[in-house]
């Protein structure tokens, strides 16, 4: 029983990280139909930005978060302006182009910072564990779970309660008509892409104390995050949240029932089956296209 409870918590912790990464991807994919394979590299940039701020400026993870968000969003904005913007009419080519951007970012970091693993200290405020009976929860992981939910709520508010969100939803539904109403679709796309990249940067900053920070850390994460987005349903925020909990918990449960690797294989097999029978995901959004 203790094992199961602790494993459920581990699954939830993994789900919160997946959600943070997948959220940015879901917005970018949902809004523009762009499969951003450079998203993992945005996470990696966020992690390195945190490391740089801590090492050279002595800023801890929590105060660093706004800086990381802005800097990675700026990188995303440039990438969108220079490359992605020219490819909206060729969605499958964006897979290839963003993969190329991923290679460039990864190599740039490897050349600039070095290939060795970097260490980032977690915040002192959140060290230690909270124990409820046999259940031992790391405070930092608890914080990440709460933070990811806050980001989800903020994104949801942005999409549904602000003027920008309304314009974005209009562009998603019908780009040509909304342009007739004076919405600058190009600008909306740029800002959305930058916001998605910024979220990836935040995710990267938060996982630095949990993962080792290396230039290749993004590649594995992007595949997982992308599966979350597809399982959740095209561009659905709630779907992405549900899918990340589902995948996180399934991985955690399978890994105690069988073993880590076979558990992951079982989850992948489940995902393949799900896409086969529900290609529009668990929570498809209703849009007229």
């Amino acid at each position: 029983m203790d094992v199961i409870a602790n494993q459920l918590f581990a699954g939830l912790s993994m789900a919160s990280i997946l959600l943070m990464i997948a959220l940015g991807l879901a917005i970018i994919y949902g809004a523009m139909g762009v499969i951003n394979l450079a998203h993992g590299e945005f996470v990696m940039l966020g992690a390195y930005a945190t490391w740089a701020l801590q090492t050279y400026a002595g800023i801890g993870i929590l105060p660093a978060l706004p800086f990381v968000f802005i800097s990675v969003a700026a990188v995303g904005w440039i990438v969108e302006k220079v490359v992605v913007q020219n490819l909206y009419h060729r969605p499958l080519d964006t897979i290839l182009a963003t993969w190329g951007i991923g290679i460039i970012l990864q190599q740039a970091v490897r050349l600039g910072v070095g290939a060795e693993s970097r260490f980032v200290k977690g915040p002192d405020l959140l060290s230690g564990n909270t124990e409820i009976g046999p259940l031992i929860m790391s405070n930092y992981r608890l914080f990440v779970i709460v933070f990811s939910m806050a980001v989800l709520a903020a994104t949801w508010m942005l999409m549904t309660r602000t003027e920008f969100g309304m314009k974005l939803r209009a562009v998603i539904q019908n780009r040509a008509i909304s342009e007739c109403y004076g919405i600058e679709a190009k600008r909306i796309y740029s800002v959305t892409f930058a916001y998605g990249a910024g979220l990836a940067g935040l995710a990267g900053a938060l996982i630095t104390p949990l993962f080792s920070t290396i230039p290749t850390m993004g590649t594995g994460l992007v595949v997982d995050a992308f599966l979350v987005v597809i399982v959740g349903g095209l561009g659905s925020l709630i779907g992405s949240a549900a899918a990340s909990v589902l995948i996180g918990e399934a991985t955690a449960i399978f890994s105690i029932v069988i073993n880590d690797t076979l558990g992951r294989i079982a989850v992948l097999a489940g995902i393949i089956l799900l896409i086969r029978f529900r290609p529009r995901g668990l929570f498809p959004t209703e849009t007229r296209r």
């Binding site: 490359v83 060729r90 499958l92 080519d93 290839l96 190329g100 290679i103 294989i265 393949i272 896409i275």
Partner: protein
């Protein structure tokens, strides 16, 4: 016989002559250089296999590396068994006492060669039936094949006692084909790989210009319309997936012979995407262009990594992004467009010649 078919035949003959006679002469018949180039030629086969499913039928298979890996492991298993008397060394390290039943038939070369083609074709076919019966298309094909690739590689690394795990299969014997010991640094071996590539390309050219290829292109343009004409779309898609997988397996077998080991990195996501890159750079619409793309990119990789020991990956990434942005149809598209312009000067432009390519 259409003029396009003639162009392809001419291109194939030139390609074959250059690969068979030109390249070895330029390389001064040096064993090491020939081995390196034979590696590029083996990779050209897998790139050309992808162009069949991606360029002709519009199915982006991100799991091509899985079928490539199956072929390369089939060959490596055979050579490993020949190199060791009885049990291969790594099995003993992993407390596997008897030879697993999967390994037993690989004692025979005939079985190995067949398995290297048929196992990938069979598994590729299973995935294809699974996907295409449900009319899965576009991005979802890419995602399912990608997820399959990740799962397959994990499984392979996990079964260390049977597959050598992360280390792969090393310390292989040299293949003996009808009493000829295949030395990967010899001219004879180079000719073998080059011959395989030319045969595969001839097959690919024939296929794309046959009625089968025509129907595949129809499906790529509009699957529903092809369906209304009475074609069983799923069967055509499955068949092209099988053919592409078998060719990838063939390339994998040759690759093991070239490098003399098999490693699970052949089944990695980045290797699979690299295949897509080669195919895109060359031009996915033509099998010859795709093969050419693989050779060019790999040669460039080789040269760049000599000159810029650190930054060559960066340069490659930049080149690739530029190709996707400004040459969406690859080198092939560039050539055929300029050819069309040249012809356009002489006579009024014939619109039936202008080929449209979909946005998939």
């Amino acid at each position: 016989m259409s003029s396009k078919f003639q162009y392809d035949l001419v291109a194939l003959v030139i390609f074959a002559l250059v690969v068979a006679f030109g390249v070895p002469a330029v390389m001064n018949y040096d064993g090491f250089e020939l081995n390196t180039f034979a590696r590029y030629l083996a990779l050209a086969i897998v790139s050309m296999a992808l162009s069949l499913s991606w360029g002709t039928a519009g199915l982006l298979n991100l799991g091509q590396a899985a079928t490539f890996g199956m072929g390369s492991y089939a060959m490596a298993m055979h050579l490993k068994l020949r190199a060791s008397d009885g049990l291969p060394d790594f099995m003993a390290w992993n407390n596997v006492e008897t030879l697993p039943w999967v390994w037993v038939p690989f004692e025979s070369l005939t079985f190995t060669l067949l398995a290297g083609l048929l196992v990938p074709a069979f598994i590729g076919g299973l995935i294809a039936i699974f996907m295409f019966r449900a009319r899965i298309a576009g991005v979802f094909v890419a995602i399912i094949t990608l997820a399959f690739l990740v799962a397959f590689q994990l499984l392979f690394i996990n079964q260390q006692g049977h597959t050598g795990g992360q280390n792969g299969l090393t310390g292989l014997a040299q293949m003996s084909l009808f009493g000829w010991i295949v030395d990967p640094y010899s001219m004879g071996f180079y000719n073998l790989v080059a011959g395989c590539l030319v045969v595969a390309l001839a097959f690919g050219v024939y296929l794309t210009h046959s009625k089968f290829g025509l129907i595949l292109r129809a499906i790529r343009e509009d699957a529903d319309r092809a369906r209304f004409f009475g074609y069983n779309v799923a069967n055509y898609q499955t068949l092209v997936f099988c053919i592409s997988a078998a060719l990838a397996g063939w390339a994998g077998m040759l690759y093991t012979l070239v490098l003399e080991f098999a490693s699970p990195t052949y089944m990695s996501v980045s290797f699979s995407l690299a295949i897509v890159i080669w195919c895109a750079v060359g031009g996915r619409e033509s099998v010859i262009a795709a093969a050419f793309g693989a050779i060019v990119v790999n040669m460039l990789e080789g040269r760049l990594s000599d000159v810029f020991v650190e930054g060559w990956h960066l340069i490659l990434g930049v080149i690739f992004v530029l190709v996707v942005m400004f040459m969406p149809r690859g080198i092939y598209g560039l050539l055929s467009e300029s050819l069309q312009k040249l012809r356009g000067i002489g006579r009024p432009r014939d619109h039936r010649d202008a080929e449209t390519f979909p946005n998939t």
